[in-house]
């Protein structure tokens, strides 16, 4: 039993880590792009926003028949989680960069920073607490949504919960639910600490 919980927990962490990782790698550049292309950025944000509003189980359902990324299993779960994690990361990157004091940007441009230097040295560092807040939300939500991924054979702690529900076995349900809740709380605490540290500088 213990072994099974550990295995499911590790699987759960892998699913969330991979999806949030990909969402960071795609979402931060997309967020930056949205700040540079206001009209197109609004459309991109609307799409990401729409994905977020689809109920998670329905999104899993939609993805199953899609060739290459779909089907039953962990891959589909990860794709769905990536899509879910995008919104908070893209939105917070956009908000964070837009929130940089225009006087500071003005001074940066006037000192001869190139647009790339301005992004790397001024905009991103100053937006970082907000971006990390987005990553925190994506991670915490992702840990929750990942439990539902078991419904389509995605693995992770949801497997124990669903099996417990089917067998009316409270211990089995808790064996999945408690570690999932603990993971979410832990992620929240750790990433909140990172955020605070960044704000203090």
């Amino acid at each position: 039993m213990t072994q099974e919980i550990v295995r499911a927990t590790v699987e759960h962490i892998v699913i969330v880590a991979v999806s949030v990782g990909v969402a960071i790698a795609a979402g931060i550049p997309l967020g930056i792009w949205c700040t540079r292309h206001t009209a197109a950025g609004r459309v991109a944000l609307r799409i990401v926003d729409a994905i977020q509003t689809i109920p998670s189980l329905a999104l899993f359902g939609f993805l199953i028949p899609v060739p290459l990324i779909g089907g039953i299993g962990m891959r589909t779960a990860i794709v769905a989680l990536i899509l879910y994690s995008l919104l908070p990361i893209v939105r917070n990157t956009l908000t964070g960069i837009r929130g940089v004091d225009p006087i500071v940007l003005d001074a940066g441009v006037a000192m001869g920073l190139t647009p790339r230097q301005l992004l790397r040295e001024v905009e991103l560092p100053l937006a970082m607490p907000t971006i990390v807040a987005g990553i925190r939300i994506a991670t915490v939500v992702g840990i929750g949504v990942a439990t539902i991924a078991a419904a389509i054979g995605g693995g992770g702690l949801g497997t124990l919960i669903f099996r417990g529900v089917a067998m009316v076995d409270t211990r089995l349900i808790l064996a999945g639910a408690l570690p999932a809740a603990a993971l979410a709380l832990l992620a929240d605490v750790v990433l909140s600490a990172v955020e605070k540290k960044l704000i203090k500088g």
């Binding site: 004091d101 006087i103 500071v104 003005d106 001074a107 940066g108 441009v109 006037a110 000192m111 001869g112 920073l113 190139t114 230097q117 040295e121 001024v122 560092p125 100053l126 500088g201």
Partner: protein, 239 residues
Amino acid sequence: MPSSVEFRNVAVGPILHEINLRVAAGEAVAFVGRSGAGKTTTLRLVNGLVRPTSGEVFVDDVPLAQTDLIALRRKTGYIIQGSGLFPHRTVYENIATVPRLLGWDDSRTRAAAEEIMRKLDLPIERFGDRPPRSLSGGEQQRVGIARAMIAGPSILLCDEPFGALDPIVRRDLQDAFRALRSGVTIIFVTHDLAEALRVAERIVLFEGGRIVTDCPAAEFPAQPLPLVQRFVAAASLSA
């Protein structure tokens, strides 16, 4: 080496009309006028933060359209109200920004920072490692001046740099600024005539996006224009 700055028939949308002005290398000119008169826009034309809709700006007789703006900005100091210091960098890192962009080595940057910080009464041992937010408004503005002047700029653009400071700190900074101003062309935007007379040798008065008066500072108070007299009256009250 100070640079010359020239505006030829410059217009910016509805904001500026027919600006013709030559600032000689090494000259210190104050742009005076009410809010919205066009003085800040004119200032921002010099380092290409604003581009003219017609006409052209020349630095050292080269049109800005044919100038590498990034390189020009690195040798043009820019001091603004509120200082615009990078809040995530220390005082020293802020001051070292342009030398770093210019690729100076650490010892040269350090020596230049120590010198300019000493002149501005910001000893590096006491201020170097501090974050800008731990400084008073006047100290932040001194850092802003140091940051603009460390690399020996050819042009110094100042946009109401002391506008948000109390009158005593303001006077101190004007004096510190006067002591530093040799060897550079200065354009100084202010709506305070007393300040303009302290820091500049020539005064250009803007109104409604046009230049209405352009004369040596000493002659300005005697100009008959009603707007000039209103500025003179306002200045003598606050001086």
